[in-house]
């Protein structure tokens, strides 16, 4: 009873506290905001729950929302549960409770229960916020479940929020109760967060997913792992279940919580002083005042007293140092730093991992950690210590003394600002040391100290300073420490996520700056100045904030607003006013300059406006998409690259032909509004009729229509360059080193004019389309669309072209494009090279310029030599041998198995990264631009069976495209990627297999399976079978690789070669009409024997999953020493529709049945007929069987591959 009374007292007094309701309202608000944004209330918002089709109040979205926000509430849990007992010590009220006839049990658990009740209430607000948001006007009804189940709310609350409240609350409670301080709670809170971040990073490598699921204290990662392979239909229709790793995670952390509470209860003493304190006190010499004063006051030495501003200003560094060192030496901060170190080291462990293979710890790679997750860590430390510093005197209750001292208010204020800066600087030093240690530990000794110092102390630190000022302002305004921590963190998150809600302009996004990505080739490039301008702008604003905060700084006992505002008058001295004035002037001046750059010099287009533009474009011009346009038959370019000026001049002549059956009267010319057109002329009379430059649209009417078969030319001379900077940073059109100029391979930003309506400019997301009143659209034209079957999937402008180009650039750079070098000369101090292609080619061609070193080699093929050249950045020699080997082995394999290479040269050119992720390589006629982040810097350990030689593999893939895309070019319809990407992936796998063996392939395909299954859940439109692959990478890469390799496994390499070479021969440089996936499938069907014909349907024509499972395996020793193994397996085949809805299908096929020995070697592995349901096999094996099962090598698409094999029971 006493227990309940205490709990109720605690709970009801919390109910009267303002902070409880502030938390309540804020969580409701956050949940509502998230839902509203994902539900389409904000125009231009880009918030979703992983895929357009995941309904915002469906079970999965609700679970993510509730779990995540609940976890963000860890500060609230800390403040409510931690303070439950600790505040009795802080306020001294423990005397009453400890001396009252209350059992320890009642006090301890009463308090704990009270805290839990409060938290339960506070977090209910999340549910409330969600419910309200779903009913807001402006919510897109297509994004919500009309009648959501109450289970969808209850389950995440029960499985995620409540357990976290219980165990975290319990731990925080115990820590604070035992130490009687909040220190432990802070440290534990930070550790919990580090655990979460660490888990998220671990998830980068699929082999770690079990570990990741377990170490995440929040359970969010475990839920992620549980739902990793959920399709959209499952996410919207299936309630989350407490099962698998999710259950284990919850059990683990609840168990820990329980343990801590039990141990904590045992250790808790209801005593005024703990044993430790008594001992310390005993050591103290007690003294007393002398009875008679020994000296009079007059005898005090006369000390000079100087209370001038100058004297106090000289005190500032010392005081700041004092505040800072006090924190730096505190055990709490050391613990937090240790957590930070763990975080850096943990992240470094899977540095830049791709296919589970690490990259070299290049300085910029290591530094990416700071730009990424460590950022969050610094934010939290900043928010917390801003509060700690502000409350330093008040927490100790020495504020009455210090506040009545004659030291000016600005002294303490500035000292605290500087101390916080100092703290952040110390964290940067920690990162520096950790990073260098990581590099050295990985045996990498190319330490780039200047880069470290610049990135950490010039790029990152000033940004953290801005946030420090912001945090101090928030804490000063809130004037409640625990609430302040929470609000500061909340605002950090809100400010950093504003853009996702459609508020993108950096002029009002505090402390924002354009992204800056360092590249070994290009350094920071011309992206740096914009960053500095924004820093200066927000720095000036921070200056204003500082003056504002100073004016409202709490000194003395007045915490009400009226007296605080009255004090402002006294604080705002002429000096303060002039500082504010200077900051204000700088703010306005830099703001104007930025505005000029981002709004005047470069047109400002918000995401919302951009979407509107696309929607308008579609509405206005889509009707003209069927109007025949001339095709380009030859390209003759003259490209002048000015890397230092980030400028390029592209001139050229396009030969045009009317390949249609109708005369062409109108030409719709496309080029970007950033083009400065020096010349644009047709060889036939043409008149500009209409243009909408913002939509890239220029309509010319020909004086005399171009008859079918008629030819003409278009001469153009365009100039492009980065002008100042945009809201998202400088225009990356031409980089200073390693420029890759988009002549047309990315249609939206193509610099060379193109023809006709451009479907690539249409809005793709169905959510966005609905918002703009457009019907949903498929990603690609239908497989059987006859018009599109006559279009090349590579470009709408041409079929195959003759190509020649002259590229000039700075003398120290190497200009390169497709073709062969015809002439190489210097002109006006500039390097010029003329290239020409000797055969017709697909009309996509890159232009690059960079300071390259060259690796040259020759592959001696049956039809003559092929030169291999890699143009790379000096210093990136790591994997050149692997890439050369990849190129040679590929050329050899493809020539032997499919047909000859069409060129005499294969060139790979490195180009810089300028986005943090998404490095790619792309195959152009005899030319392969290859991003520095993918392959060049991989660190492949051949002795590690886990490592995939992906520089070799990616090279093979790109070389394969010289066959699959360039020798046969697909039609622009569904399935196009199946006959380019899937075939390239398959071909590369075969090259990889030849070199590294089948086992390594299994390892690789495991990743592919994982990524395929995961990709299904993020589907934006609807999953298609491979036959209709429509641009979703998880289908054409991952599923393509898996299924083609599995088919090869079933029917043999020779049969595959038969089909592929026949397909290639049939479509060799053919089109229009171009081949489709049906043509390939016909060949595959032709070579597939009857018993495997079902695979064609399963793999390519439908979405099919298998669920095979080994039930039991028993072995009996035979008289001849061999073993009989009786194996029972079950099997099931599942067909899914485009949303992931599943239905069983009858299964009858050949599957692998295998028995392994202790070392994992197969004693037997053979194909056997398997039917739906239970299947029994008896196998005779040599040696001792240890494991046995069905599809043990995971060749089929099976979501739970772990149950395919069981241990053999030897009788």
């Amino acid at each position: 009873m006493t227990l309940l009374a205490i709990a109720w007292f605690d709970f009801s007094s919390r109910l009267r506290a303002v902070s409880t309701w502030v938390y309540f309202v804020l969580f409701a608000f956050l949940a509502g905001l998230w839902m509203a944004a994902a539900g389409g209330v904000f125009a231009g918002a880009s918030v979703s729950f992983g895929g357009d089709k995941v309904l915002i109040n469906g079970p999965y979205a609700l679970a993510v929302c509730i779990a995540f926000l609940g976890f963000a509430g860890v500060t609230v849990i800390g403040s409510v549960a931690g303070r439950a007992v600790q505040q009795d010590f802080e306020y001294g009220t423990y005397h009453f409770f400890f001396s009252a006839p209350i059992a320890k049990r009642d006090y301890f658990f009463g308090r704990l229960l009270g805290a839990w009740l409060t938290l339960t209430l506070v977090f209910l607000s999340i549910v409330l916020g969600v419910v309200i948001a779903v009913h807001l006007p402006g919510i897109d009804s297509a994004r919500i479940v009309a009648a959501p189940s109450w289970q969808s709310f209850l389950r995440p609350y029960l499985f995620l929020l409540l357990p976290n409240m219980l165990w975290l609350g319990g731990c925080f409670f115990v820590l604070a109760a035992l130490t009687r301080q909040m220190t432990g709670v802070f440290v534990a809170g930070v550790l919990v967060l580090v655990g979460y971040i660490f888990a998220v990073n671990l998830l980068g490598d699929m082999d770690n997913k079990l570990l990741a699921a377990m170490v995440d204290p929040s359970g969010v990662t475990a839920l992620d792992v549980l739902a990793r392979y959920w399709t959209v239909a499952q996410k919207n229709g299936e309630e989350i279940a407490l099962a698998g790793v999710f259950l284990w995670n919850r059990a683990l952390w609840m168990g820990l919580g329980l343990l801590v509470v039990v141990v904590g209860y045992a250790m808790f003493r209801m005593q005024a002083v703990t044993a430790g304190r008594t001992r310390r006190r005993a050591a103290m010499v007690e003294s007393s005042l002398p009875v008679e004063p020994t000296r009079t006051l007059a005898a005090l030495p006369a000390a000079t007293i100087d209370r001038s501003a100058g004297a106090y200003a000289r005190m500032l560094p010392g005081l700041a140092r004092l505040y800072c060192s006090e924190i730096l030496r505190s055990p709490r901060f050391l613990a937090i730093v240790l957590a930070g170190v763990l975080l850096v080291l943990g992240n470094a462990a899977t540095l830049g991992s791709l296919y589970g293979t690490n990259t070299w710890p290049l300085t910029y790679k290591v530094l990416d950690i700071v730009g990424g997750t460590f950022n969050l860590f610094v934010l939290i430390v900043t928010a917390i210590y801003a509060g700690e510093l502000i409350w330093r005197e008040r927490d100790t209750r020495i504020d009455d003394i210090t506040d009545s001292m004659p030291a000016p208010t600005w002294l303490g204020f500035l000292a605290k600002v500087l101390a916080l800066f100092g703290l952040q600087t110390a964290l940067m030093l920690v990162v520096l040391l950790c990073s260098i240690s990581v590099q050295l530990a990985k045996g990498y000794t190319r330490i780039e100290l200047p880069l470290y110092l610049f990135e950490l102390f010039v790029i990152h630190l000033p940004g953290f300073f801005l946030l420090a000022v912001f945090a101090l302002t928030v804490h000063t305004l809130i004037n409640n420490k625990y609430l302040g921590h929470f609000v500061a963190l909340l605002l950090f998150i809100v400010v950093s996520r504003m853009a996702d809600f459609g508020y993108e302009d950096r002029l009002y996004r505090f402390a924002s700056r354009p992204n800056l990505v360092y590249s070994d080739l290009n350094g920071y490039g011309h992206f740096l100045p914009a960053v500095f301008w924004f820093r200066l702008y927000w720095g000036a604003f921070a200056g204003l904030l500082l003056v504002f905060t100073y004016a409202l700084w709490v000194r003395g006992r007045d915490s009400g607003w009226r007296p605080r505002l009255r004090a402002v008058v006294g604080r705002m001295t002429p000096v303060a006013w002039s500082l504010a004035g200077v900051a204000g002037v700088v703010f306005v001046a830099t703001g104007s300059f930025i505005y000029y750059n981002t709004h005047v010099l470069n047109p400002y287009v918000s995401r919302k406006e951009g979407q509107q533009l696309r929607a308008d474009y579609e509405r206005k011009y889509k009707a003209l998409s069927g109007v025949p346009q001339p095709k380009v038959t030859a390209v003759d370019l003259r490209t002048d690259v000015f890397p230092e000026q980030n400028r390029v001049r592209i001139a050229g002549t396009l030969s045009l032909a009317n390949k249609s059956t109708q005369p062409i009267k109108d030409i719709y010319l496309h080029y970007p509004p950033t083009a400065q057109a020096h010349a644009l002329e047709f060889s036939v009379p043409a008149r500009l009729v209409e243009e909408t430059p913002a939509m890239h649209w220029h309509h010319y009417a020909l004086g005399t229509p171009l008859p079918p078969g008629g030819v003409a030319t278009l001469r153009f001379d365009f100039e492009y360059g980065a002008k100042g900077f945009r809201n998202d940073g400088a225009d990356p059109v031409v980089l200073g080193n390693g420029a890759l100029i988009n002549t047309g391979f990315t249609p939206e930003t193509a610099l060379v004019p193109s023809f006709g309506y451009n479907p690539a400019a249409e809005l793709t997301s169905d959510n966005d389309r609905r918002k703009h009143g457009l019907a949903p659209r498929s990603r690609m034209p239908d497989l059987d669309d006859p018009a599109e079957q006559r279009q090349s999937a590579l470009t709408r402008d041409a079929d195959f072209i003759d190509y020649r180009a002259t590229v000039c650039t700075s003398a120290d750079q190497f200009p390169v494009t497709s073709g062969y070098v015809k002439r190489d000369w210097t002109e006006n101090g500039r390097r010029c090279i003329s290239y020409a292609m000797d055969t017709p080619m697909a009309a996509i061609y890159p232009v690059l310029s960079g300071r390259y070193a060259h690796r040259r080699d020759v592959w001696k093929g049956p039809n003559g030599d092929v030169a291999i050249e890699i143009d790379y950045h000096p210093g990136h020699e790591f994997n050149l041998d692997r890439m050369v080997a990849g190129a040679k082995d590929s050329l050899a394999y493809f020539t032997a198995h499919y047909g000859p290479y069409q060129h005499k040269l294969l060139r790979i050119i490195e180009f810089p990264r300028f986005r943090r992720s998404g490095g790619f390589a792309a195959s152009f006629p005899n030319t392969v631009p290859f991003n520095e982040a993918i392959g060049f810097t991989a660190k492949v350990d051949d002795r590690d069976p886990k490592d995939i030689d992906y520089p070799y593999f990616v090279t093979a893939h790109e070389v394969a495209h010289q066959w699959w895309a360039h020798q046969e070019t697909p039609a622009n319809v569904q399935g196009a990627e199946f006959i380019t990407e899937s075939l390239a992936e398959y071909s590369a796998l075969m090259v990889l297999k030849q070199k590294y063996g089948d086992a390594k392939m299994r390892r690789f395909l495991k990743h592919e399976l994982d990524r395929y299954l995961m990709g299904r859940g993020l589907e934006q439109k609807g999953e298609q079978p491979l036959l209709r692959a429509d641009g979703a990478a998880y289908i054409h890469y991952q599923k393509g690789a898996l299924t083609l390799y599995a088919l090869q496994d079933a029917i043999g390499e020779a049969a595959m070669d038969d089909a592929l070479s026949a397909f290639l021969k049939r479509w060799h440089f053919k089109g229009p009409p171009y081949p489709t996936s049906r043509d390939l499938l016909a060949e595959l069907k032709r070579v597939t024997p009857a018993e495997h014909q079902g695979l064609i349907e399963d793999f390519f024509e439908t979405i099919t999953l298998y669920d095979s499972r080994a039930v039991s395996a028993q072995a009996r020793k035979r008289p001849d020493g061999r073993h009989d193994v009786d194996l029972v397996v079950t099997a099931r085949k599942i067909r899914a529709d485009s949303t992931g809805k599943e239905a069983d299908a009858p299964l009858s096929m050949q599957m692998d049945i295998g028995v392994q020995d202790a070392k994992g070697n197969f004693l037997v592995l053979e194909k056997r007929a398997v039917k739906t349901g239970e299947n029994r096999f008896t196998l005779v094996v040599d040696g001792v069987p240890v494991r046995a099962g069905v599809d043990p090598l995971h060749k089929l698409i099976d979501r739970d591959a772990g149950d395919n094999v069981v241990k053999v029971e030897v009788l």
Partner: protein
């Protein structure tokens, strides 16, 4: 330098009227501020120590407007709050040195000498290197007075300084205060009458935010001469007397109750006139038997 307070009022956000038109004039020397708990003493002290604003009224120290020129007041102020904490992991000498710097003692060497001298004055010199976290209540209080004396203050405000001290230490503490009070305004707030009796040349009694009485202790006691009557009664009778008479105080003595009552003539049978003391002044004032003529006079 004299401190004059005129019509000072303070009402807290929760509606409590902590000060109501307080007017006082304080000359150099010790000034005692007497009042029960919650009388508004600490509010007044904090207001004078520039830690709190007032709703209306003025306070001037010499030519300084205390409410508008907090910086100038702080330069002259030494303040010992009623309740304060110290950094537990910092040594006495380090904290005092730090506070001395905040008081404007810029040069390290003389500052160190002042700090050492003050620590000697309050007899903490031997433990100066020890962490403040281990200090007893008395030691901490002495540290508090040491910091209040830093920087040659002209206005010293000590709020309930003897609350945690044992009787002996209280005496020593008083000596220390008396020592500095020569040409300095020292305001001592307390609810213990004898503190004021021993030390203060002037006093004021405040209750519920109002000044009820001011004057010199001796004169105030003298004004009650022949007005305080004493009778020893049973407990039950004491209750009855309380209802009928202007009882100043009741005190238990050997199981019986000594009743002291205020009256211009003998209030009843069995009462005998007795020698008044300061406690009688205080209790009579609080009980409302004494008007505050002295307050107007001040």
């Amino acid at each position: 330098m004299q401190l004059s307070i005129r019509d000072l009022s303070k009402r807290y956000a929760n509606g409590v009227q902590a000060l109501a038109n307080v007017s006082l004039t304080v000359q150099p020397g010790m000034f005692g501020l007497l009042g029960p708990n919650g009388a508004g003493k600490s509010t007044l002290m904090r207001t004078l120590a520039t830690l709190q604003s007032a709703n209306s009224g003025t306070a001037t120290l010499g030519d300084i407007d205390v409410l508008r020129q907090p910086g100038r007041v702080r330069a002259l102020l030494g303040y010992l709050p009623q309740d304060f904490g110290v950094y537990p992991r910092v040594s006495a000498v380090d904290l005092l040195d730090h506070l001395a710097r905040l008081k404007g003692l810029v040069d390290a060497k003389p500052r160190r000498e002042t700090v050492d001298a003050l620590l000697q004055r309050v007899n903490l010199f031997d433990v100066r290197k020890q962490k403040l976290g281990g200090f007893s209540g008395g030691m901490r209080q002495r540290f508090g007075i040491a910091q209040a004396l830093l920087g040659d203050p002209k206005l010293v405000i000590v709020d309930e300084p003897t609350a945690g001290l044992d009787p002996e230490e209280r005496v020593r503490f008083h000596n220390l205060l008396a020592d500095i009070a020569a040409d300095v305004v020292v305001i001592l707030s307390t609810h213990i009458v004898s503190d004021v009796e021993d030390l203060c040349g002037q006093l004021a009694v405040i209750d519920k935010g109002r000044v009820l009485l001011t004057g010199k202790p001796g004169e105030l006691v003298a004004s009650l001469d022949q007005h305080i009557w004493r009778k020893v009664v049973d407990k039950s009778e004491a209750e009855a007397l309380k209802a009928q008479l202007r009882v100043v105080s009741t005190r238990l003595q050997a199981g019986r109750t000594v009743v002291r009552a205020y009256g211009e003539s003998c209030p009843g049978a069995g009462f005998e006139v007795t020698v008044p003391d300061l406690e009688d002044v205080y209790f009579s004032t609080i009980a409302g038997h004494l008007a505050a003529p002295a307050a107007q006079a001040a």
